[in-house]
């Protein structure tokens, strides 16, 4: 009802200072909760780093290869050690669903980036790859072909533009989204054929660019197979390899952080609980203060639902506005501290990736919804109790 809604609004306007304080308190509470939840999920997601995020369960690399799993680089370090491209296929392992071969070459003086920059050129088999192409954020409207390259998010060049590698012209076919995985961010991806064609231009021909050789495989487990089973099967069937699983990588840090995050979660719950108590205390007082008016409304025929509805609408407007403000503030704060936060996390070995947009929006909606719900609940009980009283008692200032 329009008149009751405008009454609710005007009541908020009648006590500017109090409404402002209520809105501010709810804004702080829901801002903290929204920011905390978003950061928490972002960090937790970011901790699940490496090829697990890329969609693989494990990686098979030459035994002697350095697999750097402490820092952001969670792929095989480029080495001269190589595997035969068909080792896994020949072994016919039931626990493996898919295996994507990769050739990784780290080069200098390639003409990309600054003069001495080490650049990872990564060869993939487009038909078998399942960890790179799903991350394509934008691409040309055609198949990947010889001479095409895909850029990690850390490299900037327009789609379809020319890119010289060792003096040879390539076309920027696509760009990857942000994954937080080091090699992905700075890497340049291409088909095996494109990479092989570059071998002649390199100072010395890397061993992995020989036909039939690869740097390693990213492996997806068959449904129902465990990492332990697969690891055992691979190691007993194939000589000279090592198996790296993603989970082990940062589990120590992750556990510590998980405990911390649980603590933050508990704090957030307390925050919401105290907000709920505060709102209901405040609205008990507001209802008491306004009982004469409520009694008058009741006397002229307002139904109980209309009286309760008016008070609830008033509370929901205040706490809902508080929630919107809080989320807005939270976004501003996160934007403001983004740089130092990302820097700090990457320093302790956690490549940071913001939560994706749909989930961030869901969190924002949840924070605002919770704030509004707290308003509704806080106002409902005192309003419901008052609405039960006789109109005459309310008008006389009792109840």
């Amino acid at each position: 009802m329009r008149l009751l809604a405008s009454l609710a609004l005007q009541n908020l306007g009648r006590r500017r200072a109090r409404s402002f304080l209520l809105i501010a308190a709810v804004a702080i509470g829901s801002g903290v909760v929204f920011t905390g939840a978003t950061l928490m999920r972002s960090i937790d997601d970011s901790m699940a780093v490496g090829f697990t995020r890329l969609g693989a369960d494990m990686m098979v690399a030459p035994e002697g290869a350095l697999t750097n799993i402490t820092a952001a680089l969670l792929t095989v370090e480029p080495t001269d050690l190589v595997l035969d491209a068909d080792v896994l296929a020949k072994a016919r392992l039931a626990s493996i669903a898919r295996a994507a071969p990769q050739k990784i070459v780290r080069v200098e003086h390639s003409g990309i980036g600054s003069h001495h920059e080490l650049v990872d050129l990564i060869g993939i088999d487009p038909a078998r790859d399942f960890t790179i192409q799903p991350w394509l954020r934008e691409k040309l409207n055609r198949e990947l072909r010889a001479g095409d390259v895909i850029l990690g998010v850390g490299r900037d060049a327009p789609l379809g533009s020319q890119l010289l590698i060792f003096g040879k012209s390539h076309v920027v076919y696509g760009k990857l989204g942000r994954t937080g995985v080091g090699t992905h961010e700075r890497g340049i991806f291409m088909s095996f054929a494109t990479l092989d064609a570059l071998a002649a231009s390199m100072p010395q021909r890397p061993a992995v660019l020989a036909p039939g050789k690869v740097s390693g495989f990213l492996v997806e487990l068959a449904p129902g197979a465990t990492a332990l089973q697969a690891r055992f099967a691979i190691l007993s069937a194939v000589r000279g390899v090592k198996v790296v699983t993603g989970e082990s990588s940062l589990s120590g840090i992750r556990q510590g952080l998980a405990a911390l995050l649980k603590g933050i979660l508990a704090l957030m719950m307390l925050m919401f609980a105290s907000m709920a108590v505060m709102v209901s205390v405040l609205f008990s007082a507001i209802v008491t203060e306004r009982r004469g008016e409520l009694g008058m409304l009741k006397a002229i025929g307002a139904r109980r639902s209309q009286i309760v509805g008016m008070m609830v609408v008033e509370a929901v407007i205040a706490t809902g506005v508080g929630g919107v403000l809080g989320v807005t503030l939270g976004i501003l704060v996160m934007r403001f501290y983004e740089r130092s936060l990302v820097y700090y996390l990457e320093n302790i070995g956690v490549p940071f990736v913001w939560l994706d947009l749909p989930r961030t929006v869901a969190f924002a909606a949840a924070a605002i919804g919770l704030a509004a719900a707290i308003g509704a609940l806080g106002a409902f009980y005192p309003a419901w109790r008052a609405s039960r009283r006789d109109a005459y008692d309310l008008v006389r200032g009792e109840g």
Partner: protein, 222 residues
């Protein structure tokens, strides 16, 4: 037709049980002008509140047009207050944040199924009849106490009630304003045939009523 049967009201207080109304029988035929008189604290307001559906009796019944109003559900009782009764309080009772026209229209807007435009036209017409046509958009604080009481009467009339209950509507007003307000109430009673129950301690006013009910200590005085 309005009928009270052994209607009583007691309040639990710190000093024990206070009986404000103690078993009153009262019949008011439709369309009649009835005055209730009695000393302050005799139970007049409490009786009016029980008749108007504002205060639940501790015992006894109030029947309006054959309906025992205190046997109704919450919503049906709200509808009764909304449609059947116009209540004019002893004190200022307008909602301060609403314009006069909104205050008058409010009871109709609270009820079911009335178009807003028709309601507002009616509200404006009532305010005009009561000499407040120039103040439709004003707020209660911008007009005098007597004018506010007239707006309260307009509000009480917006839903064409069958009973108009006025509890000392002029006690805090000057004599000239009192006469004006009483003229309005009596005109409604006479012209529309609305039952009028008026609480007053002005015996001259009471003398104009068709029926006088005298209350002392919560009971009728013969």
């Amino acid at each position: 037709m309005l009928a009270c049967r052994q209607v009583s009201k007691s309040y639990r207080t710190e000093r024990g049980l206070v009986t404000a109304v103690a078993g009153i029988d009262l019949d008011v035929p439709a369309g009649r002008f009835t005055a209730i008189i009695g000393r302050s604290g005799s139970g007049k307001s409490t009786l009016m509140a029980m008749i108007g559906g504002l205060s639940r009796p501790s015992a006894g019944s109030v029947t309006v047009d054959g309906t025992d109003i205190w046997g109704l559900s919450d919503n049906a009782l709200a509808a009764f207050r909304n449609e059947k009764v116009g209540y004019v309080f002893q004190f200022a009772s307008l909602l301060p944040t609403l314009r006069l026209i909104d205050n008058v229209a409010l009871p109709a807007m609270l009820g079911r199924g009335q178009g807003a435009s028709g309601t507002y036209a009616r509200a404006a017409g009532l305010l005009e009849r009561l000499g407040l046509g120039a103040y439709l958009d004003a707020y209660p604080a911008e007009i005098s106490a007597g004018e506010q009481r007239r707006v309260a009467i307009a509000r009480a009339l917006i839903n064409d009630p069958s009973i108009l209950l006025a509890d000392e509507p002029t006690s805090d007003l000057d004599e000239q304003t009192e006469i004006e307000i009483m003229d309005v109430l009596r005109a409604v009673n006479r012209e529309v045939g609305t039952t009028l129950v008026l609480v007053t301690h002005n015996l001259a006013l009471a003398g104009q009523a068709q029926q006088i009910v005298h209350i002392a200590n919560g009971a009728l005085v013969a």
